[in-house]
Subunit: 335 residues, 2 copies
Amino acid sequence: MSPFTEDELTGALRTILADDAPGLRVGPGDDGALVDFDSALEILTADLLVEDVHFTLDTTSPRDLGYKSLTVNVSDVAAMGGRPRYGLVSLAIPERIEMPWVIELYGGLRDAAARYGMAVVGGDLSRADETVISVAVTGEVAKNRAVTRSGARPGDRVVVTGSLGGAAGGLRLVQANPDEVREALGTDVGRSLLQAFARPVARVEEGETLAAAGATAMIDLSDGLAKDLHRLCRESEVAARVHLSALPVAGGLTEVEKFLGVDAVELAMEGGEDYELLATLGPEVLPRVVARITERFGTPLTEIGEIVDGSGVTAVHADGTEHPLEPKGWDHFGR
Amino acid sequence: MSPFTEDELTGALRTILADDAPGLRVGPGDDGALVDFDSALEILTADLLVEDVHFTLDTTSPRDLGYKSLTVNVSDVAAMGGRPRYGLVSLAIPERIEMPWVIELYGGLRDAAARYGMAVVGGDLSRADETVISVAVTGEVAKNRAVTRSGARPGDRVVVTGSLGGAAGGLRLVQANPDEVREALGTDVGRSLLQAFARPVARVEEGETLAAAGATAMIDLSDGLAKDLHRLCRESEVAARVHLSALPVAGGLTEVEKFLGVDAVELAMEGGEDYELLATLGPEVLPRVVARITERFGTPLTEIGEIVDGSGVTAVHADGTEHPLEPKGWDHFGR
């Protein structure tokens, strides 16, 4: 058992790091930092991907890994309503890694950079016992458009882009015996889940649209809805109610739940790595935003709950019963 | 034997990464990237510190390690003539690391941030089998003041701030038996070497002054003078001649060279981790710059050679004999 959780450690470190530097609007603890950038704000964010913690070399191709490494950072920029600009990629690799693997990884980084209209402009390289990819991304957002985790108000609706649990389902399919998967499911079923795991999409345009429509708080779903909604509520000093029957469970997940021995709704709540955006906004603007995001980008935007006074998150079942939703999900330290 | 060197890998990756993105002035391959930043340029740089590659936990305190991790990035900003603004720190730690160690590390990061007038504004945390510290720093420089590695011209003088070989000497003292060190050298000797190793100084004001005075090229000495001067020459498409007798060998290094069984001049040439600035500039401005940097900051600025046509670096001995200087020094892949 680990002596501290990631959130405990993060909390301790936030008290150490200065949050009153000149030009600093939002410091540690949100999806990214916000700093003055002349006429706009700059978003600064970083994510670490560690072999056998975030990925394994036998279930992820270097090209997918490169693509995903940049995408998860872009997702943090999107969660603040911004557009990514530049990336720095630092890579530590063991001796057994060959040059072509590294080239493929950078190819994936370049693919993702092109997809999001940004550029990887530098970084560092080192030896290590295991592969570590550390990415930092800068982004830009208009001064009055930045959305943090801390602005949710009672009465706001909770919305989520796309669907949930797909990446977690894909990961479990990747880890299962391929022959058994084929036999039980056929070759087509699960393809969208595998895709969700291997090539997550950062919702940049959707985040910009939500920010422009007046989203009061936003976070990207990296560690699972349960955990990340708790974080948003804690930062906003509010509580949330989530209607489980409203959750947009990823297509294919229900079909494979028996084979995988998992609960689709549980994966949607706690699976993590979906990189969808979770946002709160006033009920008056909701219909227009749903229509705009669906029409412009072909991305579903689903209302899954509401913000209320208090603290914590309550799960509401289809039959009306309720239970407190624990902040379970991915923790690099606690489990 | 490793199948590729760091410079070979870096070279391959530079061809993959885009260098024509909007607003991008200098991409991968310099101390940092340079991007448009409204009225100024932004510097983006990243460095990775890996346990048992860049440091060992038994020879470096967490506070020194935090301090150094930020400083080596600030040094890259200084090498472009800029001032640091913000830092992102991503940390991967094994389970055996306790919370107080992490707190100390961040204390050291905060100390360094205060020293350089900047702030650590975010980052990431993860488990790993070994400790990895990944730091990215943004900095700012006026549009006409940025100095890259590529502007050195034949006739320029080669100068270096401070002294060389101190960090390498300190590392070797740290690795030696403490009792033997005390017995052979006394407690005072070597203190400046240990300090140079544990708490390197990034030459921010000196870099700004060199940039303002018209330095044509600049690089910080992270991997040793021999290697880093080769890099500067390669980027500038010129050659350099270095006068070995002019090298500002770190104080104390000559006293300990017999005890350590090392050659002081060799450590000064190839030791690495001094984080001094190596710059080139026209002979006409040299006396004024030397006076200014010495008087304002108490930092020696020493002329150690000159830029000539051609390629490669030539070492000139006190007796006038010459030999080609190999780009030996720290390589995370080649040795």
